[in-house]
């Protein structure tokens, strides 16, 4: 007799597929936010499974800061072609050109904060009523209280004190015109679950996640890769190192880790032994103790 038990990855998979299908069923015009990072890759993988053999019933939206790693864009374009998905791109550069936002200046300038405006503009322009993101509750303390279905007012703001209670499998996506939802199908996954699932499902990953040689600068413990967006200050210098990325965001603020992990199995061992959270290498989170909470209130993912 078979045993009627799912292992933790298959149970998380079942939950996420349920949530993604619920989005397609409850909303008129949903979108899946695709950043090219591992979480959104896994989310997209689950979405493809959720509707197989049909195509995705929603487009993908990439908020392009203009500071992306070229590897991320190549990976994105190949994947989109492979699954015949529809890709929309929201450009931070365009928001700057239109005067919607002003570029930060200074040595730690980043477009991370600016992308919130581009995202909200894209949601409004296309009339999206639900946007799925790969955020996980274990990532950061402000995310630990996030719902699967997270309600946003007409300004895209999140009010942590006034969230809808979420019970059983009953997700309430009802809203007034102009409001929208952020949906987090991977809420219950940890970084380890994501990597184990990538291994289990043999999901192809961008090369940035694996160890490679690259010139970096050590800025207060954050290793930034050499690019035209990172300017050296006094006393800093480029050094060749063997590194990989644990998260992938902008070249201007995504820190690398020194690593020799060249396979998914190696990465899993490394994650198991890690003594720093993955966001520990994100310069954007180091701005203040509540920087994630502040950005989320304003509409950041």
């Amino acid at each position: 007799m078979l045993s009627y038990n799912l292992n933790h990855l298959r149970e998380l998979e079942a939950e996420s597929i349920f949530v993604i299908r619920e989005v397609a069923a409850q909303f008129q015009n949903p979108v899946l936010l695709f950043s090219g990072g591992k979480d959104s890759i896994v989310m997209l993988h689950l979405a493809v499974k959720a509707f197989f053999p049909a195509r995705l019933p929603f487009p993908l939206l990439h908020i392009d800061t203009g500071h992306n790693f070229p590897e991320t864009l190549d990976y994105r374009d190949n994947l989109v072609k492979k699954i015949s998905a529809r890709l929309l791109v929201g450009s931070v550069q365009e928001s700057i050109n239109k005067g919607r936002v002003v570029e930060e200046t200074g040595v730690n300038a980043s477009r991370n904060v600016l992308q919130t405006v581009t995202l909200l503009d894209a949601i409004e322009e296309h009339g999206f009523d639900a946007a799925m993101g790969g955020g996980r509750r274990d990532e950061e303390k402000a995310r630990a209280k996030e719902r699967f279905f997270s309600h946003r007012d007409e300004f895209g703001q999140w009010d942590p004190k006034n969230q809808r209670p979420e019970l059983w499998n009953l997700f309430n996506g009802k809203k007034k015109p102009g409001e929208h939802f952020r949906i987090f199908p991977l809420s219950n996954w940890t970084e380890m679950d994501v990597w184990q699932y990538i291994l289990l499902e043999k999901i192809e990953m961008p090369s940035l996640y694996f160890a490679h040689e690259r010139e970096c600068v050590d800025r207060k413990g954050v290793l930034l890769a050499k690019s035209e967006y990172v300017k050296l200050t006094d006393g800093e210098k480029w050094e060749k190192m063997t590194i990989r990325f644990r998260t992938i965001g902008d070249m201007s603020c995504t820190g690398a880790t020194v690593s020799h992990a060249s396979t998914i199995e190696d990465i899993i061992l490394e994650v198991a032994a890690a003594r720093q959270t993955e966001r520990g290498s994100r310069a954007d989170d180091k701005r203040s103790e509540t920087s994630m909470e502040d950005r989320k209130r304003e509409g950041y993912f």
Binding site: A25, P165, N172
Partner: protein, 424 residues
């Protein structure tokens, strides 16, 4: 993950539990201890709370700060809402729904408890069973949590006394006999010092049972879901518009109960039409068997008119089809429930409207007494009510199946979730 065996992670199970407690009974310390001792705390997180502890002038690193989420909470020193925490051992992955113990306690604990397999209730060994202990146990039983673990905490403050432990245990058992809980266990612990949390304590040789983490890792949860009564609420219909899969028509959903197999004779509700399962597509491709809580796509031999909100069941084992339903409702909004009020209602994937026909009584969550002279149902109240729905629902009693026995009530103007209902 087990580093000696690359595939050990494929045997890990998922256990969801909820913790309940008030400000001083050491709940945050216990969670902090579980996370810290199971090495789920990273250096940067530990450094951050170490700095905060020093700033506050505390003598030791306050593990309770690990569960401290939003800025408003840190400023006020309280926990506002349900927070979810994660940790794993080589045997299991754990999801903790951490609920606060102050004013909006009932609403939060009900939310956290709705998906839990197990509840941990903390009792202060110096105070014994108090009103709040009973309230926690009642809500756990109301929400149908199959396993209850009573941690008698702060044993260090009563000299690790067996007598104290046994007397609290006896008192709790006396009270719990009135509740519907399948499995209750008692563990003497000290969250502060780590006794019987992750490591078994050598200070209580009289205690022969397991430590808390060992219990969490080994408690049998395989039979927590209903695998007898087949229920498949249809969530979404998959009809690819391409040549390769022309004619494919699949009903997507998450199995709410039972085991389905190709060849099974099934009936679709509400139409009552019958057919046979042609194939079941799981996330990994076609499967020979699908069971709760899998997300699958079911294909039938016949083209039936089935859509979202319908339910596929076995012909000879059907849920009740009804419009008049009695529920225990937990109210979750500052706006009071209106007698004769009309609300949106969601059951599985089915939406309808309902009207409150009668409020029978409220339950005093501290004494379990029925209150019949005050039928004002407000925030955090639990009441037995009768409702009538605009459309038939296909329901089971909550105690038989949590998926097909639960509903939420929704405000038709603001769309907020107002109440959580368990079908009686």
């Amino acid at each position: 993950m087990n580093r000696n065996n690359g595939n050990a992670y494929l045997d890990m199970e998922l256990l969801r539990f909820t913790t309940a407690g008030s400000v001083d009974d050491g709940k945050s310390t216990l969670i902090g201890r579980l996370l810290y001792d199971s090495k789920s705390i990273f250096e940067d997180q530990y450094e951050a709370i170490k700095i905060t502890s020093e700033k506050r002038g505390e003598d030791f690193v306050n593990l309770a700060l690990l569960t401290d989420g939003l800025r408003a909470e840190r400023e006020q020193g309280i926990t506002i809402d349900v927070a979810y925490r994660y940790f794993a051992t080589p045997k299991r992955k754990f999801i903790i729904a951490d609920t606060p113990g102050h004013v909006q306690y009932t609403r939060n604990m009900v939310t956290g408890a709705s998906t839990a397999n197990l509840a941990i209730i903390l009792v202060d060994s110096r105070k014994g069973v108090v009103e709040q202990t009973k309230r926690h146990a009642f809500i756990a039983s109301l929400l149908g949590i199959p396993h209850l673990v009573i941690c008698i905490n702060k044993m260090d403050l009563v000299d690790y006394s067996q007598k104290v432990f046994e007397s609290i245990k006896k008192e709790f058992q006396g009270f719990a006999s009135k509740l519907n809980i399948q499995d209750i266990q008692f563990i003497p612990i000290s969250a502060l010092h780590g006794d019987n949390v992750v490591e078994k304590s050598d200070k209580m040789p009289w205690y022969g049972g397991p430590g808390l983490l060992y219990l969490l890792e080994t408690i049998h949860i395989g039979s927590d879901l209903n695998l007898v009564d087949c229920r498949f609420p249809v969530q979404y219909v998959i009809r690819p518009q391409n040549d390769e899969y022309h004619g494919y028509r699949g009903y997507a959903g998450r199995i709410a109960g039972g085991v389905f197999k190709p060849g099974d004779k099934v009936m679709a509700l509400p139409s009552g039409f019958t057919s046979t399962i042609k194939a079941i597509d799981g996330p990994e491709g076609p499967v020979q068997e699908a069971f709760a809580p899998m997300s699958v796509t079911i294909r039938l031999d016949d083209e039936l008119d089935v859509s979202r909100g319908d339910m596929i069941v076995r012909e000879n084992n059907r849920p009740q089809t009804c419009q008049d339903i009695d529920i225990m409702v937990c109210w979750m909004n500052t706006k009071k429930m209106l007698p004769d009020g009309k609300y949106g209602i969601r059951h599985t994937t089915r939406d309808a409207r309902c009207i409150v026909r009668k409020i029978h009584y409220k339950v005093d969550v501290n004494t379990l007494h029925r209150i019949q002279d005050d039928l004002d149902v407000g925030m955090n109240d639990i009441a037995r009510i009768s409702i009538r729905t605009t459309q038939p629902f296909f329901v089971d009693k909550y105690q038989i199946n949590r998926n097909t026995g639960s509903v939420i009530l929704i405000d038709e103007a603001t769309h907020e979730t107002l109440g959580a209902g368990m079908i009686i």
